[in-house]
Structure formats: structure tokens, C-alpha cells
Symmetry: C2
Subunit: 348 residues, 2 copies
DNA sequence: AGAGTTTGCCTAAACGTTTTATCGCGCAGG
DNA sequence: CCTGCGCGATAAAACGTTTAGGCAAACTCT
């Protein structure tokens, strides 16, 4: 006995040991077909003793089934995204899927390679935040291979399922809040390219500005991290010293902006109000705690997962779009407007 | 023409269109074997037109080659980890690997399921931060299946390759720095379980305490996030009001601690000094900027990837251990010791 | 007891590749 | 004119599964 001791155990190994045929082993392990109690026990025993682990690749190849899904995200370092992914994983792992994540860093070429790889390696479904300048050809690629795909956050193409945030509604909410507090000169800070998300958010902001007849809109660019937010805020105040409120494109920028204010001796929530977006963990523990627009990332994650599962089950449904409303969490970085004397400010 | 229009194109489709055999197509696409210029051109053409994408699963099954590697990490929300992963991906993607990430959230059961899944799905290599209470059986599982594996950060088992940080050296550096500034009552804050990492760090801290004859060591628990760090710091000061310096288990905790100090009207870097660990992005832009121990996460990432590649190339090498030294970045949360009058403190 | 049904297992084929061995062919050398 | 050889391509086998179909033996029913 012990012909081929080395090498990983396969169905054939188990079959040989047990003295039954390969399909029988397969059926026992998967609980299909008619099998006598006796054989079942023998097989299970042998499988356990050999530490047999099925080769999912071979299985998938034959059966077409595919329980591996890919998450393609633009920036894993962003805590909001990371939490969305958490929610996704929760639900999908419960359904027996293996979720594997990949970070495009908003580079369309990298993204293309990664998607190609996902296709080659046979992912059964995709959750995707399209990179900034995703070309049309990338969508064609996915369409050609008919992989069930749900985009999220960035709503780029209507042919795919989508889960997102009611961005315009959210920023309108924030801007209204500020207007109600008496602010009349309100800027929008954050984002760089005119991404779809940002476009929507700015639209919401501008609608309130013009609806309330406030000072003309002022949009200022910034990358999505604290340091950039800090620098941008300083520049912005230099440009518009009479500013009393800012709606930010994300919490990272908002927190950076607060740091900038502190550095200039201006108190966030007093002389200048700041509203963030995302409600990342840090927002609640910052000093002062950040007023922000909150959409539970885990909820988005679960919604995403559910949408993908539905799509996998019925690939021919018309595309679905779900948009979740944001909630305004009023903390301490917003307060009644206090007219500002545009003071001369020096660095540091 | 157009027998089977639907369905994904395979080698056989391309072969039929071109009028050559399947192996010929395979050889052309992979650049092996002897092929005439004429056929080569024909095949490439057809492949392109059909949008043919090789089925990597089938290929891997036949050839045994395996260009998919898995990253198993304990907490993706931690920015340090996320940056390590960035470094890994950089290098491995260049080598034609697909890197997929999975988050255990330090749950050993989940980790087990995920590793099982990785084995079933045939990952060719693993980069792994073992979860807190990883049982021995998990290591057996990996050993049985002989998957090239490199652990990082948590050095749990000597039979596997490892890339880590010289933890004891690092905290000793920090503690020495504080002692040099005149501090005599220095606490260690952060971490909960006695993980290997934490054990090493505390050892480094204690060695300096006893070497310099300072006040006896004081170790205080905290989860690894800002809020927990904040609460822990308050509790710690309550316990030891004469404290003048803290070495922290991570930047998140350290930043939380600084928030706590600010809340109590104590200036970090003046009345109480704080040293962090990791140098996450926030550390540099915090107010005041955090003195911290820095190990370039991307460097770790690249080292990790390199180690794994070596291991895959030669599976029979004896296990390798690489440890990177941390560097002390002195910013503004540490300063000369000022004797503290243990003031009565009330909440908020 | 014979016909029909159920039970328990097996054989054969298929999934899409890669690999190994082989084959026909034209050509150079003896 | 036969032999040997390099070239270009092919046929067949293999990877580890799952699925469909089949076939004896053991039951059930009249």
C-alpha cells in the first residue's frame, strides 16, 4: 500500500483508499446522489484522514459554478471604502463566497490589468468603483464577458447595476443647514477632477446657494487627505477672507480644513463652520467633533452584496439603481454665523 | 459560419476560426514551440477579433503554475496595514501575479475559513498576519498543503518565513529618548492581549526602564483605535497622576491619548510626552505633530513580496527571518520633563 | 414467480488548457 | 535512391472535478 504517498490528496486518492469510484466520493462529499450509510461513513473517514481539500478550480471548471467574487476599489486607504468592503464581506462570506479585493489607486491602466486578471481567473461577480478616467473600452470588456457587475459610489454607466448615495440631496441638506444658521458665504471644498460624485455633490450645494439667494458659489480643489485639505483650506481663506462656512467633499478634507483653521487661530464651529462627508471613525473623536453627512458604509456594503447576489441569480434583469440617503450629523464644527473681520493672517 | 456564436471564446473557438489545431493556438499565444510566421499572424488576429481571454483556471490546472497569491491580514482598516499591502501589490503585480486580499478582523474562525477557501481555490502563495489566537491546527493546515507562506508583523511560528520589525529595539529607542529628556515615570499604553508584537515592544520598554533605574514599569491596555486610546489615557492618568511620558503601542492609540490630554487641558509634548508607533499619515499632520517610531510600510511590503517570490522559487530553503529597524521621528509630542503637580481633574 | 421499481454504485464524457510524442514533409548528404 | 534531419503542425493524454446515463442487485407488488 502507499503507492503515491506524496502530492496533495485528490478525489482519486480518497477513492483508492476507500475502494469506491471517484464519482461516489464526489457525491458523498457534496451530499448529492444516493449513497448508502456505510459507504458514506467510509468515505468521510478517509477524506478526513487524508486531509482532503477539494480543488475548487477543477470543480468550477466542470460545473461552471463560481463562488469567487472580486472587489475592485479605487482607494483602499480611505477608511470609508474599507468599511464598505467590510459590509460586503460580511454578507458574501455567509453565502459561501470568497471575496478578494484589489486596489486600483484610481489608475485606469492598472484597473484594466486587474479586471483582465479577474476575468482570466474566473471571478463570478464584481463589485466595482470605476477609476477616474475609466475608458469606454473597459466597460466593453466586462460586457463581452458577461460578468455580473455592480458599480458603487461612482455612477458611470447605466447599463450596470449601481448602489450609491443621494449626493445632491446630501450636500443640499448640509448647505441648507448652514444657510439656516445664517451663513451667506459658503464654499465647497475638496475633490479634484470633475468626477460624477463630485459633480452631483456640487450640484446639490449650488441648488441651495441659488435657491436661497446666497453669495455666489465658490468651489475649491483638494486631494482627498488631511494634509491636502489643510493646505487647500489655507489657500481658500486667502482667496475669500470673508468666508464663514465650508461644505467638504469628504471627512478627510474636512478634518484637514479644521486643522488649518486651528493653525490660523480660527475656531471651527465658531468663526468658520465646516461640514464633512462620510462620517469616518475619526470624525466623532476629532476636536471639535465634526459635523458631517453620514451614510452607514456597512449598510452600503450589505446593499451591494445583496444586489450582486440578485444579479447573479437572474442575469437578465434590467439594471437596478439604489441610492441611499445621507443623514446630517450635527456635531460641533457648525454654529451660528458670526460676521468675520477679514483679519490679516500670517503663516503658522 | 457562426456555429456557436454565444458563449465565451476558448482555444477551440480560435482554432476553428483559424483552421489550425488547438495546441497550435496555445503555442502561439504563449510564444512557445515552433510556429511559422504565417500561422502566428493568423492566430493572433483571430484571437484579438474574438476577444479571446485565456481561462487561467484550466491553464493552472494542467500546468500546475499558479500566479495568484493571497494576502490574509488582521485589520484592513488600519492604515499601516493598508500601506504595507500597497507595497506588496506594487511588486507582485509587476511579476505578473494577481494579489487578492482578505480581512480576518482578528477572528481565528473566520481566518480558518478564509485560509481553507484560499487552499481550495488554489492560491500559489500567502502573505499572512496571523490572527490573535490562531490555533496550532491552522499552521498544520498550511503545512499539509505546502503553500509557500510568509508571515509578517506577528512572528508566531519559526517554521515559516517572516518579515517584521525590531520591536524591542524600537521601543527601547523611544524609551531612551524619553529618559534622556529627564522623564522618570513612563508608562506603556496600548494593545490588549499579550500578542507577540506587544510582548516584544514591552520588553524593549522595560529593558530601558530597569537599565536606567526609572520608576517601575506601568502597562495599560487599550484597543487599537483613537477612541479607545482616548479613554484609556484618561483612565491611566487617573491611576498614575504623576506620569510624565507615555510610549504607545500604535499611532492610533497615541493620537487618542493626545486628544485625551487636550481634553484635560494638558499639552502633549509639554506636561506629558507621547510617542507613537507606525508613523501613519495622520501622525505628521496631527496637532501637535506626533513623535513616533517609523518603519516604512511600503518597504516592508516590498520586502515581503520579495521574500515570497524567493520562497516560491525555492520551496526547500530553510525559513528566513528579516527584521527591519524602526527610526524615531522626533516631532512635537515629546519634550523635556516638567514635574507635574497631580491636579484634581474633573470630566470634560 | 415474474414484472416493475427502487437502491447503490459505476463507467464514460466533459470542462479548457498544456505537454509529450508523433507524424508528414521537403531537403541535404551519402 | 535511400537515410537522416529539421521544421511545422497535430493527436492524444492529462490535470481534478461534475454530470448523465446505465446496470446489476435488492426490494415491492400482483
Amino acid at each position: 500500500m502507499g503507492r503515491k504517498v506524496s502530492g496533495k490528496p485528490t478525489l482519486s486518492t480518497v477513492a483508492k483508499v476507500t475502494g469506491v469510484s471517484i464519482p461516489t466520493v464526489s457525491q458523498v462529499l457534496r451530499g448529492t446522489g444516493r449513497i448508502s450509510e456505510e459507504t458514506r461513513a467510509k468515505v468521510l473517514d478517509a477524506a478526513r484522514q487524508l486531509h482532503y481539500v477539494p480543488n475548487q478550480r477543477a470543480a468550477a471548471m466542470r460545473s461552471g459554478e463560481n463562488r469567487e467574487i472580486g472587489v475592485v476599489i479605487n482607494q483602499l486607504l480611505n477608511p470609508f471604502n474599507a468599511e464598505v468592503v467590510s459590509g460586503v464581506v460580511d454578507l458574501l462570506e455567509d453565502h459561501g463566497y470568497l471575496v478578494s479585493i484589489v486596489d486600483t489607486r484610481d489608475d485606469a491602466d492598472r484597473q484594466d490589468r486587474q479586471l483582465q486578471a479577474f476575468i482570466r481567473h474566473g471571478r463570478g461577480g464584481l463589485l466595482w468603483v470605476p477609476a477616474f478616467d475609466t475608458p469606454e473600452s473597459t466597460f466593453d470588456l466586462l460586457a463581452t464577458h458577461g460578468i455580473p457587475t455592480v458599480t458603487f459610489l461612482r455612477h458611470v454607466q447605466r447599463k450596470l447595476d449601481h448602489v450609491g448615495i443621494r449626493n445632491a440631496e446630501a450636500t443640499a441638506l448640509a448647505t441648507t443647514h448652514l444657510a439656516d444658521l445664517g451663513h451667506r458665504r459658503i464654499a465647497y471644498l475638496g475633490g479634484t477632477d470633475m468626477t460624477f460624485v463630485r459633480k452631483e455633490r456640487i450640484a446639490g450645494y449650488e441648488s441651495v446657494i441659488s435657491g436661497r439667494g446666497l453669495e455666489p458659489p465658490l468651489v475649491w480643489d483638494s486631494l482627498d487627505n488631511k494634509l491636502a485639505g489643510l493646505e487647500a483650506m489655507i489657500a481658500l481663506l486667502d482667496e475669500a477672507p470673508d468666508l464663514t462656512a465650508v461644505v467638504c467633499n469628504g471627512d478627510m478634507v474636512a478634518l484637514g480644513a479644521c486643522l488649518a483653521l486651528a493653525k490660523l487661530g480660527i475656531r471651527p464651529g465658531r468663526e468658520v463652520s465646516v461640514v464633512g462627508f462620510d462620517d469616518i471613525q475619526d470624525a466623532a473623536v476629532a476636536t471639535p467633533p465634526l459635523t458631517t453627512l453620514s451614510v452607514s458604509p456597512r449598510k452600503i456594503g450589505r446593499k451591494l452584496a445583496r444586489t450582486l447576489l440578485d444579479r447573479i441569480e437572474d442575469p437578465d434583469m434590467p439594471p437596478t439603481v439604489s441610492e441611499l440617503s445621507a443623514e446630517l450629523l450635527i456635531r460641533e464644527t457648525t454654529g451660528p454665523m458670526i460676521p468675520r473681520v477679514p483679519a490679516k493672517q500670517d503663516g503658522a
